[in-house]
Amino acid sequence: MKLTKLFVVLVASLVLSACANGPKISYGDATAVETTTTDFGSTDLQTIAATLVDDLLSFPPITQMTATRRPVMFVDKIKNKTTEHIDTESITDTVQTKILKSGKFRFVDMTAVRQIQEQLNFQMDSGMVDPGKAVAFGKQTGAEFMLYGNMSSIVKRNDSTKDVYYKFTMKMVNLETGIMEWAGEKEIRKTGEKSFFSL
């Protein structure tokens, strides 16, 4: 009798929890630690960007250089030497945004050169823009520094464990002198172990 009542209570609770039909969709914390797989993920991207930007902006010669002026920089692509498909532009976008928001550097956006040129051509040649209000050619600022980098990985595995080591290196070079003014590295190690049930 007692068991029957307990069973009824359990069934009722299951029915109540099943009232919300359809897929369960929820929003999560975008900055939460993500450990779904050992592949490159959002936590790795955010950690790399935060570490390297901190390292760049706290490097004493850079601190001294940016104390009185905001040098102009451009970001080159990050070479992906890992075996994974990684959107490295997403990493450089985050790094660029953080540096720009620090107020220490300004950027020229090489990914928008074609669109800028089209807009300038429109202003100059279309006849639709007041010549007195059109922006002039040849007035853009050249970048003083270039930011670029590499990303590599070492993957090792056995029957039960997969170990992934990522190394992300970023460098800043003076375009006029060719001198490397700064370099920073961030290493990440991720280990995945097969659970008992997935063996």
Partner: protein, 133 residues
Amino acid sequence: MRTNLIKLAGVAFIASVISACAVNETATVEVGPDGTKQIIESNSGLLAASLEIVDNKVGYSGDLLRVQATIKNDSRSALSFRYKFKWLDKDGFEVAVDGRPWTPLTITPYESKSVQALAPNPTVKAFKILVQD
């Protein structure tokens, strides 16, 4: 009837215990621009029982606030948790919301580890460290 209520209460208790496994505890320590420490919230079971923020240092890189916190594991087992920095301006408004990720950290028994961060811009005048198990 009374027996049924007790049973129902028992089931509810078990359900609450199961759901409590996913609880996120957060402890917050705030350091003002003058370097004085002020513990705002320390009701985390993890922090209170095993972890201790033993030291805070505040400095500047140019005009950017640079901070360091030393976290000590007072327990006899290794602890894995996450921490995150939050930045505040002089009026207490959060700067660069979600600008830093939760960062995983493991500390071996009785070891101390220092975590550092640089403020995202010169408007930052104080910071918080959040610890989550």
